[in-house]
């Protein structure tokens, strides 16, 4: 074998070429290693190591998952942590609770087990209305008449809790998850039929709102799971959540589409996951309260759909955030949270996993 000599110009040239070649390769490898170590991988490569709970998680400072981004934004947002303050927490029971409503008398109406429990906002039980089955939604008229949605039909009770009517079911696919009562109408959000049903107060079905209709420019509701609610807004229009389209829609009582707002996003001003918001409620001034599952949180939007503030972030529901909608949660049929509002702008939040009811009132920041 010929001995290497640096004095030989040919050998020197080959030596230098080889050095440059391998030096370039080494440099590329170093650059790639740096990119990977700096988190140059796709966001999709990250997985949560703390079941969605950012508080106390060691990965949180550098985490880029939506939960962490949302938590950081919530802390940085001017109204976060200051718009509403919790004033009371009513403990839950072992019986799953499916719905919470606040009546015009500012009392809480909790649909739990085969009953509706009426209580004050201090948590004092006043009466219990027995039902033949679970109620999934409740609405209370100004005169105290109570309307309960039992899976596929509506039942009506007088202010003392005696049943006075049982309305006919619209059909086998009916799955009522939201009710709203007005002066002369009752609107029922049917998650199974993907339609809002309009009844007169005698129980006659007089209209169907929101069914897909290209001629009327109605896109139709996308309801992958039984989270569907309807509210009567002070402006005279209905507000309905369309979770599969990640937005809140407005309709006239006659069913004309009147607009929509909302977007899909894990960030603080959007609706996370595949199908949110799950429920909506209305403040006395017309601003909207939205509830989400997956990353359970309650937020407030303006009348025109601009994000305003967080009422309760995901971190406020540590047990709830561990249980995704697709998991079996012992004792709970639903996941996420539900919210209702009273005449003073207070918000009551029902945590489906723990059964707790939290009463929150607006702070100086939260008052309009």
């Amino acid at each position: 074998m010929k001995k290497f000599s640096f004095k030989d110009p040919i050998q020197r040239r080959e030596f230098l070429r080889g050095g440059v070649r391998y030096g370039m390769l080494a440099g590329l490898a170093a650059a790639a290693a740096r990119a990977v170590s700096n988190g140059g991988g796709r966001l999709a490569d990250q997985t949560c190591t703390n079941k969605g709970i950012c508080d106390g998680c060691v990965e949180y400072p550098a985490c880029e998952l939506p939960q962490a981004l949302s938590a950081r934004q919530a802390k940085a947002a001017p109204n976060s942590g200051g718009a509403y303050e919790e004033i009371l927490r009513i403990p839950g029971s072992d019986t799953p609770s499916l719905h919470l409503e606040i009546g015009p008398d500012d009392r809480l109406y909790l649909a739990t087990g085969n009953a509706i429990i009426v209580m004050s906002q201090e948590g004092v039980r006043e009466r219990e209305i027995a039902l033949e089955a679970q109620a999934r939604c409740v609405a209370v008229a100004k005169d105290g008449t109570l309307f309960a949605g039992l899976r596929d039909h509506v039942e009506v009770f007088d202010p003392k809790g005696a049943r006075i009517a049982m309305w006919e079911s619209p059909g086998p696919r009916t799955w009522l998850t939201g009710l709203a009562v007005g002066e002369s109408d009752l609107f029922a959000a049917d998650a199974g039929g993907r339609v809002v049903l309009r009844y007169d107060l005698a129980g006659k079905l007089v209209g169907r709102i929101g069914e897909k209709n290209e001629e009327r420019d109605i896109p139709g509701f996308v309801i992958p799971s039984p989270y569907f609610s309807v509210r009567i807004h002070p402006d005279g229009l209905l507000r309905v959540n369309n979770p599969g389209r990640h937005r809140v829609e407005a309709y006239t009582f006659e069913g004309e589409f009147a607009g929509a707002w909302g977007k899909a996003s894990g960030l603080i001003d959007g609706f996370c996951g595949c199908c949110n918001p799950t429920r909506i409620a209305l403040l006395p001034d017309g601003r909207m309260v939205t509830c989400e599952k997956g990353m359970p949180r309650v937020k407030i939007y303006s009348i025109t759909g601009e994000f305003e503030s967080v009422v309760a972030p995901a971190a406020a529901f540590p047990k709830n955030v561990k249980v995704g909608p697709g998991e079996r949660s012992i004792g709970a049929s639903l996941v996420g949270v539900a919210a209702a509002t009273d005449s003073r702008g207070r918000i009551a939040i029902l945590d489906h996993i723990t059964g707790e009811i939290r009463i929150l009132q607006p702070t100086a920041l939260g008052r309009v």
């Binding site: 996951g273 595949c274 997956g294 949660s329």
Partner: protein, 167 residues
């Protein structure tokens, strides 16, 4: 002698275990990802399966798309699955069908995590018995943090999710 033989045969039948196989209980699975790494086979015998009856056929499927996708399309950078094992097919506006290609699925449970965290939970992991060699001591079962690996009768080798957990 015949009687003794018959007695011994009866005793042998009484003590021999019923044929069982390993399976994952979807209710206990924590979607930790260890099924992909700990199977003795080069490609894990655990695959994702899809319960179509539970699926919402969502446009924005959180089992298919990673967090904050740039666009709702099949581009690789938007998919959660590291091997593109989920096939997305348009059905009608705004519904899409999602099917698992088991030849590509590695059982990492990323899609299962996304689906169960935000969606209806129609995606879940199961041991596929056309692949599983039915080890006496399953190496995945040994490390499963949720104790989700159970022995089931060979006559009913799968634990299928049939209804969503919400009611």
């Amino acid at each position: 002698m015949t009687g003794v033989g018959a007695l011994l045969g009866k005793l042998a039948g009484a003590v021999s275990p019923k044929a069982t196989v390993w399976q994952i209980d979807p209710a206990k699975c924590l979607r930790c990802g260890k099924c992909a790494d700990h199977c003795v086979l080069e490609q894990s015998a655990v695959k994702c399966v899809h319960a179509y009856a539970i699926c919402g056929y969502c446009d924005l499927c959180t089992g298919y798309f990673g967090p904050e996708p740039t666009e709702l399309n099949t581009a690789a950078e938007n998919q959660y699955c590291p091997t593109a094992a989920i096939q997305r097919r348009f059905v009608e506006d705004p519904y899409y069908q999602y099917a698992i290609d088991e030849t590509l699925c590695i059982g990492c449970a990323k899609c299962v995590d996304g689906c169960n965290r935000y969606g209806n939970g129609s995606l879940f992991l199961q041991v596929r018995h056309d692949r599983c060699v039915n080890c006496n001591e399953c190496s995945i079962a040994r490390v499963c943090p949720g104790d989700a690996f159970v022995r089931v009768p060979v006559e009913q080798p799968y634990l299928i999710k049939t209804t969503p957990t919400t009611s």
